[in-house]
């Protein structure tokens, strides 16, 4: 069924981002950056995205 994403937590209107939930949401405007991950490489911590 079609849902009005602007009325739902986790979405904003007008974006075309992909799902960050591993395919749990197929289309719409869930934030691509909904998962924030810090990464480490060779001991250097990068405060990431």
């Amino acid at each position: 069924m079609k849902l009005d994403k602007s009325k739902l937590f986790g979405w904003r209107q007008g974006t075309n981002a992909n799902s960050a939930a591993g395919g749990a949401v197929k289309a719409g405007a869930v934030k691509e950056g909904a998962v924030k991950i810090g990464a480490t490489k060779t001991g250097v911590v990068k405060p990431v995205i």
Binding site: L3, F9, R12, A20, G33, I37, A39, V45
Partner: protein, 330 residues
């Protein structure tokens, strides 16, 4: 809005609870006549949320699962999930409970929800693995000590963390082809939890800053869950001073904010006089210099490219004031 406080944590929690409540009420209205059983369950969950005004991470994730099921016309799944939702909203959620990334620790349902709602385009699905018992033992003790230390030296940050974070999950991360592994993770879709990689060795000071870092992401999620912080779309990428690959500005915004939060946490800890060894004092100086450089680089990218929303601008302005003035910012 930049400076941490118990009030900030409480308001953030209430805001997320209200937003999920309103979303569930909307979904219930949409399916009212066609699927009354689902609608009734969603209304029951709304009533419980109104009474408790506390959302646990599993409730948040299940809400996202229900949205997905309805969108895919999987109404039987949606009904089963709406039954789960009632149980989850009823369940008590102590602050700062520690879990291991296993089904036996989290329970089958929650383990699956964590896997699904921390999936990421960069690290892929299922990058959170079961950690070794020895690593968990070490990290759990470090986290316990860090929280005690935070409570006595940066009580306003501890209070906010306790209001915001209900689950601390210990996991081991896969190492990708480019040698990156995850360090810590937070998810809007599993709000109120942080995941820490126990396979990456950390000093006590680094564990302290990690809690400030990941809880900062959750705080930011709660501060603006509906309009976000920049109008720039996610397909617009910019060189990030904080990561090798070009990133959306929302991500750079988050990274810049939490970098300042880490600076605040270590600065307050240092000002408390509770960093007693020379080795740790030197480490604190190094970390503060790193945060300063990373913040300046992130802020520079935002200044050149970000089209801030009103709340996005207010929060970043306050963040910049702190970084310019230090602990005298308030």
């Amino acid at each position: 809005m930049f400076l941490p406080s118990r009030l900030s944590g409480t308001l953030g929690r209430l805001r997320v609870a209200q937003r999920i409540h309103d979303s569930l009420a909307y979904l219930s209205d949409e399916i009212d006549t066609k699927y009354p059983a689902i609608s009734d369950n969603l209304n029951t969950a709304c009533r419980i949320i109104s009474e408790e005004m506390r959302i646990n991470p599993s409730t948040c994730a299940t809400y996202f699962e229900i949205v997905a099921a309805l969108e895919d016309d999987r109404f039987a799944d949606a009904e089963a999930l709406s039954n789960d939702l009632i149980d989850l909203t009823k369940s008590e959620q102590p602050a700062l409970a520690m879990f291991t990334m296993t089904a036996s620790s989290l329970g089958d349902v929650r383990h699956e929800l964590v896997s699904r709602h921390f999936a990421d385009g960069y690290f892929g699905k299922s990058f959170l693995c079961e950690p070794t018992a020895d690593d968990v033992k070490v990290r759990a003790e470090q986290v316990r000590q860090a929280l005690l230390r935070m409570q006595s030296t940066v009580p306003e940050l501890y209070a906010e963390v306790a209001e915001t974070i209900s689950e601390i999950i210990f996991a081991r991360g896969n190492v990708g082809a480019d040698s990156y592994t995850f360090d810590g993770a937070s998810s809007l879709e599993y709000w109120g939890a942080i995941v820490l990689n126990t396979a990456v060795k950390k000093t006590d000071l680094q564990v302290f800053e990690m809690i400030a870092h990941e809880s900062g992401h959750n705080t930011l999620f709660a501060l603006s869950p509906d309009e976000f912080f920049v109008y720039n779309t996610d397909d617009e990428r910019h060189a990030s001073p904080l990561r090798d690959d070009p990133r959306p500005l929302d991500g750079i915004y988050h990274a810049t904010f939490v970098t300042a939060r880490m600076h605040y946490a270590i600065s307050r800890l240092a000002a408390s006089g509770q960093i007693v060894t020379v080795e740790e004092q030197r480490e604190a100086v190094r970390l503060l210099e790193l945060y300063r450089n990373n913040f300046d680089a992130g802020y520079d990218v935002l200044s050149r490219h970000a089209r801030y929303t009103p709340s996005g601008k207010n929060i970043m302005d306050e963040t910049k004031i702190y970084m310019d003035r230090g602990l005298n910012a308030d």
